[in-house]
């Protein structure tokens, strides 16, 4: 066990997998010598060589495209997209190619790639360093989509993603790299070293994809959240004094519907929280799923708390971010408090 920040945990997962499997290669913009703009690959090129860990040209379509080709050859590429906001030039390779290669070749060729990318706001990054595009990926048949919320999860899920034989989009909430963040931006950051969830085993372990975690058991209402919003929900529930059961989905696709169903059947109420914009967001999928599975247990309408349907603004970041006040108000409405 060691205390690790979330970016150190990502690095540790890559380190473990580069060591265990010669077919793992890591590449992306500035990931080689420099070690990545968020330091997630620091030291790995020195340790494994520049044929395993290397810089790429600035071309997200190229990065994902070569990953698909390498994956078809038999490697396990782990490309990094510098910010999720920059994945769009790579979407054709991801959607039309990586996601469908297995299907269209009847498994003759596959793309066992893990595309990592930092996502989410909270660093004054404006519209090009803040987006949460997870719903674009969950809408594509053939992609798995993962978003961890702790260093422990980041490492275990990333190893599972790399070992997975299908393409995985691995979203890392950048505001969590250095410490948990509950939306109270005016309070000092608690580093992971001072947080129990920062304890991470040094070696190999996995967290299976498709399993949610109950972060806080409760009986009044189920909160479905992932990434940074898990902490926002915890704080919001504590602040309004509601006994919320907080579920960290961890994997959005495949989705752990059993855990969701059991919880909502128990609480009879559900609030869904994400940082991404609202319309056609993943929350809509979750609301539909809860309605399908738990309609007769529901005692109140399902609520969604999300980012507003606008580009992510720079100066008004904290008005935009769905913080504890907005989540708390939704919890109150749903439990009728």
């Amino acid at each position: 066990m060691a205390s690790m920040s979330m970016n150190a945990a990502v690095r540790s997962a890559l380190d473990v997998m580069l060591g265990r499997d010669d077919n793992v290669v890591v590449f992306g913009e500035d990931v080689g010598f420099f070690g990545g703009v968020f330091r997630c690959t620091e030291g790995l090129q020195a340790k494994y060589g520049s044929h395993r860990v290397f810089d790429t040209p600035i071309a997200e379509g190229g990065i994902i495209g070569v990953a698909v080709g390498m994956g078809a050859y038999g490697l396990r590429p782990v490309p990094e997209i510098q910010f999720a906001d920059y994945v769009y030039p790579g979407l054709d390779q991801l959607i039309s190619e990586a996601a469908r290669l297995r299907y269209r070749s009847a498994a003759e060729f596959t793309a066992p790639i893990t595309v990592r990318m930092p996502c989410g706001g909270g660093i004054h990054g404006g519209q090009t360093h803040s987006q949460s595009p997870e719903a674009l990926f969950t809408h594509v048949c053939g992609l798995k989509t993962v978003m961890p919320s702790t260093p422990y999860e980041a490492k275990g899920l990333l190893i599972a993603a790399i070992e997975d034989d299908d393409p995985v989009v691995f979203l890392e909430p950048k505001r969590l790299y250095n410490g948990p963040f509950d939306g109270h931006h005016d309070r000092p950051v608690v580093p992971w070293s001072a947080h129990p969830l920062g304890d991470v085993p040094d070696g190999y372990y996995t967290i299976p994809l498709g399993t949610a975690a109950i972060r806080r058991p409760g009986s009044d209402v189920t909160v479905l959240a992932y990434g940074t919003m898990v902490y926002v929900a915890e704080t919001a529930a504590a602040e309004v004094g509601i006994d919320a059961e907080i579920i960290d989905l961890r994997t959005l696709l495949p989705l752990d519907t059993d855990t969701i169903e059991q919880s909502v059947r128990k609480t009879g109420r559900c609030v869904i929280v994400h940082e991404a914009t609202r319309t056609s967001g993943f929350g809509a999928e979750l609301a539909a799923t809860v309605q399908e599975l738990c309609f007769y247990s529901l005692e109140a309408p399902i609520e969604r708390v999300t980012g507003w349907d606008t580009p992510y603004p720079h100066a008004q970041e904290w008005d935009y971010f769905p913080g504890p006040a907005r989540v708390g108000a939704a919890l109150r409405r749903v439990v009728g408090a």
């Binding site: 010598f33 071309a59 379509g61």
Partner: protein, 410 residues
């Protein structure tokens, strides 16, 4: 060597890393005045050599020589020098403001001032520039109010972009300066589209797009060249090769095998490779490309060879990936010093006038900063209001956004 020897994987590397002596032996620097100046209607296929050399006007003594020496008046050159000095003073001040917490982020263009400034002074008032985040020199050369630029940096109530955009992502249509996106490369092909529109309408203005050498890797760069060539669009395609793309050297973008100017050759586009730290060469090459475009001879790709003297941005620490003193060994020198020496050498400027000019631009920047800061900064929290975030998503606000605005308590 047999056909069954194992393959090797080539990974490009820069000429020097931290702790190693800077090495610019890969930059061949021909003598000033050595490169021919073809007629503006030259066939692209007949001037391929210009993609592999470097057009330079100022020699080592800062004398202007050769066929590219532009017929430019001392007044115009002094104007350019002033704009370059002001740009550097502006960058210094804004970088300091970032350290003081008055803004979240800043990007300077130190060492590259000659390019945007020279380009701005040569292009016409109705030409449209599709810049990157490192072309603030254009706005300054066009005398765009510093206060307006700074209010954008401070995201305050007077920021015309309502605090929506990250600092330095200006938009100034009246200055011929298109809103900066932040997504690399996307606007290069838009410049071609603007130029095509000008031709479709029988207009008389051209467009000019910019990418860094790192961004030539994006598909948009290649779309731009293909469309520009196919439609002979009246556009200048600039590649600012400042040797570094954050931590990646120009080699990572493919600079080991060919110049960036040479990317144009396969498209049949005229290419010039130019000393970007030589303001006179910038003026001359821009003028050539503009005249060529206006005479319906089509696009020109210009590689400006320069060096990013500062960090990539205030979030970057270049000492982690390149020799700390690399800038001092850069063979093309400092563009401001070179132009100033030229003007002093020709008797168009005295050293006293140069230092007065320095004091003048610093005072101008200082007073603009005072005024802009009085409207608010991130430090005092007087930033653009929340209300406007729902505006301009669409021309008319759809019901779902009205509902959200109401939920937000506005």
């Amino acid at each position: 060597m047999t056909a069954t020897d194992p393959l090797r994987f080539h990974v490009p590397a820069p000429s020097a890393r931290p702790g190693e002596p800077p090495d610019f032996s890969y930059v061949a620097v021909p003598a000033a005045g050595a490169v021919r100046r073809p007629a503006i209607d030259a066939m692209a296929t007949d001037i391929r050599d210009l993609a592999d050399t470097m057009i330079r006007v100022l020699d080592d003594e800062a004398r202007a020589i050769g066929p590219w020496s532009p017929p430019t008046s001392p007044d115009d050159l002094r104007r350019g020098l002033r704009a370059m000095m002001k740009t550097r003073a502006y960058d210094d001040r804004m970088q300091r403001a970032q350290r003081q917490g008055k803004t979240s982020f800043y990007m300077r263009c130190t060492g590259e001032e000659a390019i945007a400034v020279g380009h701005a002074l040569e292009l016409g008032p109705r030409d449209m520039y599709f810049p990157t985040y490192r072309q603030q020199g254009w706005l300054i050369a066009r005398d765009w109010p510093l206060v307006d630029m700074m209010c954008q940096i401070f995201s305050n109530e007077k920021d015309r972009l309502h605090g929506r955009q990250m600092p330095v992502m200006y938009s100034a249509r009246a200055a011929g300066f298109v809103s900066i996106s932040g997504n690399l490369g996307t606007q290069y092909v838009q410049a071609v589209g603007w130029a095509m529109a000008s031709a479709i309408k029988g207009d008389t203005c051209i467009a000019s797009g910019v990418v860094g050498e790192g961004t030539t890797a994006e598909a948009d760069f290649h779309y731009a060249l293909t469309f520009a060539a196919a439609y002979r669009a009246p556009v200048i395609l600039n590649v600012v090769n400042n040797q570094w793309a954050i931590s990646s050297s120009q080699a990572v973008a493919g600079g080991e095998s060919a110049t960036f100017a040479a990317r144009a050759i396969g498209h049949g586009i005229a290419a010039l490779r130019v000393d970007g730290n030589d303001n006179l060469a910038v003026l001359a090459a821009t003028r050539w490309a503009r005249e060529r475009a206006l005479a319906n001879h089509g696009p020109t790709l210009i590689e400006w060879v320069t060096y990013r003297a500062g960090a990539h941005s205030t979030s970057d620490d270049p000492s982690k990936y390149r020799p700390a003193d690399e800038w001092k060994s850069w063979p093309l020198g400092d563009p401001i010093e070179r132009l100033a020496s030229h003007l002093i050498g020709t008797g168009s400027l005295s050293e006293l006038q140069q230092s007065e000019l320095q004091a003048e631009v610093e005072a101008e920047v200082m007073s603009a900063a005072r005024e802009a800061e009085s409207y608010g900064t991130l430090l005092d929290g007087r930033v653009a209001g929340f209300k406007s975030i729902f505006e301009d998503v669409f021309k008319e606000m759809p019901p779902h956004l009205m509902r959200q605005r109401e939920q937000a308590g506005l």
